[in-house]
């Protein structure tokens, strides 16, 4: 009797409350980053309620898998992930404990945004962790290229239409509108960056290959000796030498890294400059959406390049 009573007590605790109700007219969309959230808002309009888990000023590789995220994901109709193992340290346990069948990998409500975009730095041949924390599936910072933003938006449009077919005309219209605005802005950005094609620079982490490729800039080195490995004195000295030799003056840093080493490097180089760019929407206050992300970065980068190149 007492056994059954105690089993009952233990198990009853798990069933005490009623089923959570998610009766809402809007689709609940949860995304890993604010960039994906912004694109989902562009396409979904007022038919979607979008929440991003990682903030734009946070290193997306290292996000705490907080239980409050489980609550958010529990109510999601669609989860949009960056993919390419960017979130490998935190997303799998969250999805697994979300108690939400809709957003399990392979389910209709799980979208890996990286599957239809242009990915750079996919390693070929043997890779080992002697290379640092390499991403075996290619560079996951692909959203930093407007063309990829367009491809993400297409994937989001298709996914939203699949989940909510009644609104597909709206999603298509909103996508077309986003596409038009993005294309117009791209012309401006290309024009602003055109004078600096071929300019060499240094970045902290490998966050910018898509961005720099797009605007014809050449990244010749990184403040990190290897991805995910903090700066070392010998690597820093080598980098200073290389920058001096090549006449390279600009170091681009993500807002979540310490400015100490980049600043120390810049101080060793005549005319050296450290520039903090926003790798994501929300990375700085001014950047509230995907188009503003480039607006901000292009403006700052063009200004800094003008200063260091004198063009």
């Amino acid at each position: 009797m007492s056994i059954r009573a105690s089993i009952g007590a233990a198990v009853a605790a798990a069933f005490l409350a009623g089923t959570p109700v998610s009766a809402q007219s809007k689709l609940n969309v949860v995304t890993s980053t604010e960039d994906l959230a912004s694109i989902a808002r562009e396409v979904g309009g007022d038919k979607v309620a979008v929440v991003a888990l990682a903030k734009g000023y946070q290193d997306p590789h290292f996000v705490d898998a907080k239980p409050s995220f489980i609550l958010t994901m529990n109510r999601a109709d669609l989860y949009i992930a960056v993919g390419r193992e960017l979130e490998i340290g935190w997303l799998p346990p969250l999805v697994n404990s979300s108690r939400n069948a809709k957003i399990q990998p392979g389910a209709r409500g799980y979208l890996d945004a990286s599957l239809t975009v242009h990915i750079l730095e996919i390693p070929t041949g043997q890779i080992t962790r002697a290379m640092g924390d390499v991403h075996p599936l290619g560079n996951p910072h692909y959203w930093l290229e407007p063309g990829n933003g367009r491809l993400i938006a297409q994937a989001v449009r298709n996914k939203l239409s699949e989940i909510s077919p009644a609104d597909n005309a709206l999603f298509a219209r909103r996508y077309d509108d986003f596409d038009r605005r993005l294309a117009a802005a791209e012309k401006r950005w290309d024009a602003a960056m055109a004078p600096y094609k071929g300019t060499k620079l240094v970045t902290y982490h490998r966050s910018w290959p898509n961005f720099m490729d797009r605007f014809g800039l050449q990244v010749i080195g990184y403040v990190e000796p290897k991805p995910g490995i903090p700066p070392s004195p010998s690597h820093t000295l080598d980098l200073i030498e290389e920058m001096k030799r090549g006449g390279i003056k600009l170091i681009v840093v993500e807002p979540y890294f310490s400015l100490k080493t980049p600043q120390a490097i810049a101080n060793q180089i005549p005319g050296g400059k450290v520039l903090v760019l926003a790798p994501s929407v929300g990375g700085v206050k001014e950047v509230a959406d995907y188009i503003q992300l480039f607006e901000y970065n292009v403006k700052l980068l063009a200004g800094a390049l003008k200063q260091v190149t004198g063009k």
């Binding site: 009797m1 056994i3 059954r4 105690s6 089993i7 233990a10 605790a13 798990a14 005490l16 409350a17 089923t19 959570p20 109700v21 903030k55 000023y57 946070q58 290292f62 705490d64 898998a65 907080k66 239980p67 409050s68 489980i70 609550l71 529990n74 193992e85 490998i88 340290g89 935190w90 346990p93 999805v95 979300s98 108690r99 069948a101 399990q104 392979g106 389910a107 599957l115 996919i122 390693p123 070929t124 043997q126 890779i127 080992t128 962790r129 640092g132 075996p136 599936l137 298709n158 699949e162 077919p165 009644a166 597909n168 005309a169 298509a172 995910g228 903090p230 979540y256 890294f257 310490s258």
Partner: protein
């Protein structure tokens, strides 16, 4: 008899759950203009065709580049995700019948290597070294020799099918292999339930469910040895047993509230002993979590466990536990700074032949990240012994941790323990090297 009734009940629950797995057909109301819909489908189809062609070309280019070289093992699970599966068009008319549109993936391609479905495999080595002495006495709790590869953990993890995933953790010690955990879990059950079955670390308190390599110290707190049934020879102490765990979220606004109920066989270290099939042990836990700000949060838990002890079926041991954790991590500097304060308290009531023993114990700890790779911490232990509450062991530790990378960790811990039985004092300096190869595991929270 009780056992049979219990297992019949379990079967009923499982059958009920299985019934709920059944296919669900959704019939969406097709009110939209048919003509517009047709155009939309046509457009989607064209786009998809274009994407497919583009990917086909890119894929063949990639295959050509790779040549005949075998893909590295690490990239094997990757291919599944990165590669676009082959697709087939859904026949026209499916939409009207409530079926899918566009293309569906084909999974059974001739080229699919069976390797693709291998689980994620990881191996964590745990090398420990100790120096120091235990004055005036013999053994300490969990004695560590000068050097030992105390326990290496092999992990095998994969999704089983659309309904389940499986996790295996094998603890490989110097003397043999033990299944530390091995369970199947069902994350897609209806009703917001999460069910786990197999052998696993019980959800009692906060630390009990943690694996050794994810702890902020080299050893486990004394209370886990004294009250949670650790054998002094088992470094991986705590309640772990074979059984079933059911948990669900309880709606509570912005507060994360989770209730867990677990039923085990009833054998776990020195705390629970099952001498009959019906001598099961049960555990219940309620866990609440809330964000103060985006940088700081609190987690509070209450646990209860009940099982039979080594004196026989008529003797119960009950455990009551409470735990609190405060965490702080500034998001924009998340990789450089963090702080975690934890405390756990346990009360044990163990029925004995003469009179029940009521023992109490706990620990409190603080960990602070001073730099990207450096952490300092401290822990205070205070605990009575389950079988003789008059004996109180106390300990304090200071810990320094260095992370060369995400995959290695070097740690040293100074541990001072005062044993209650003979006033012995042990002063020890412990060193640990943790190293991970294979799958990139999730960071513990």
């Amino acid at each position: 008899m009780q056992a049979r009734r219990f297992s019949t009940g379990m079967c009923a629950v499982l059958i009920f759950a299985a019934a709920l797995f059944g296919p669900v057909t959704t019939v969406s109301a097709q009110t939209a203009d048919v003509q517009a819909l047709r155009q939309e489908i046509e457009q989607l189809r064209k786009e998809f065709e274009a994407v497919r062609q583009q990917y086909g070309q890119r894929l063949s280019a990639l295959e050509a580049r790779l040549g005949g070289a075998a893909a590295p093992a690490a990239a094997a699970p990757a291919t599944r995700e990165a590669g676009q599966p082959a697709t087939a068009e859904v026949p026209p008319g499916a939409l009207a019948a409530g079926g899918p549109t566009g293309s569906l993936p084909i999974y059974a391609t001739a080229s699919a290597a069976s390797k693709i479905f291998n689980p994620d495999i990881g191996m964590i080595g745990n090398f420990i070294s100790a120096t120091g002495e235990s004055r005036g006495g013999s053994e300490s709790i969990a004695p560590i020799p000068f050097a030992t590869l105390q326990e290496s953990e092999a992990s095998f993890q994969a999704i089983v099918d659309p309904y389940a995933r499986a996790d295996f953790f094998l603890a490989i010690g110097e003397e043999g292999i033990e299944v530390e955990e091995g369970y199947v879990s069902f994350p897609t059950l209806p009703g917001g339930l999460f069910v786990k079955a197999g052998k696993f670390r019980a959800n009692i308190g906060r630390l009990n469910a943690f694996h050794n390599h994810t702890l902020p110290w080299i050893d486990r707190p004394l209370v886990m040895y004294n009250l949670l049934g650790g054998s002094p020879l088992d470094p991986d102490t705590g309640i772990k047993d074979a059984g079933v765990s059911v948990s669900r979220l309880i709606p509570a606004g912005k507060v994360f509230l989770e209730a867990t109920g677990e039923v085990f066989r009833g054998d776990s270290g020195t705390v629970f002993k099952s001498s009959r099939r019906s001598d099961v042990s049960t555990i219940g836990r309620l866990r609440a979590y809330a964000d103060f700000t985006e940088e700081a949060n609190i987690e509070i838990g209450g646990s209860y466990a009940r099982g039979h002890n080594d004196l026989g079926s008529g003797f119960f041991t009950q455990l009551y536990g409470t735990d609190v954790a405060l965490r702080w991590r500034p998001l924009s500097r998340a990789i450089y700074r963090s702080m975690a304060a934890r405390t756990e308290l346990f009360w044990s009531r163990r029925e004995e032949i003469a009179a029940p023993q009521s023992a109490f114990g706990g620990y409190a700890s603080l960990d602070y990240q001073v730099q990207r790779r450096w952490f300092v911490g401290g822990r205070y232990d205070w605990t009575e012994r389950a079988t003789n509450a008059a004996i109180r062991d106390r300990g304090s530790s200071a810990v320094l941790t260095f992370w060369p990378s995400e995959f290695t960790q070097l740690r040293s811990q100074y541990r001072r323990t005062r044993y209650g039985d003979d006033g012995r004092m042990a002063n020890e300096l412990l060193f640990q090297a943790l190293f991970t190869i294979g799958a990139h595991g999730a960071h513990p929270f």
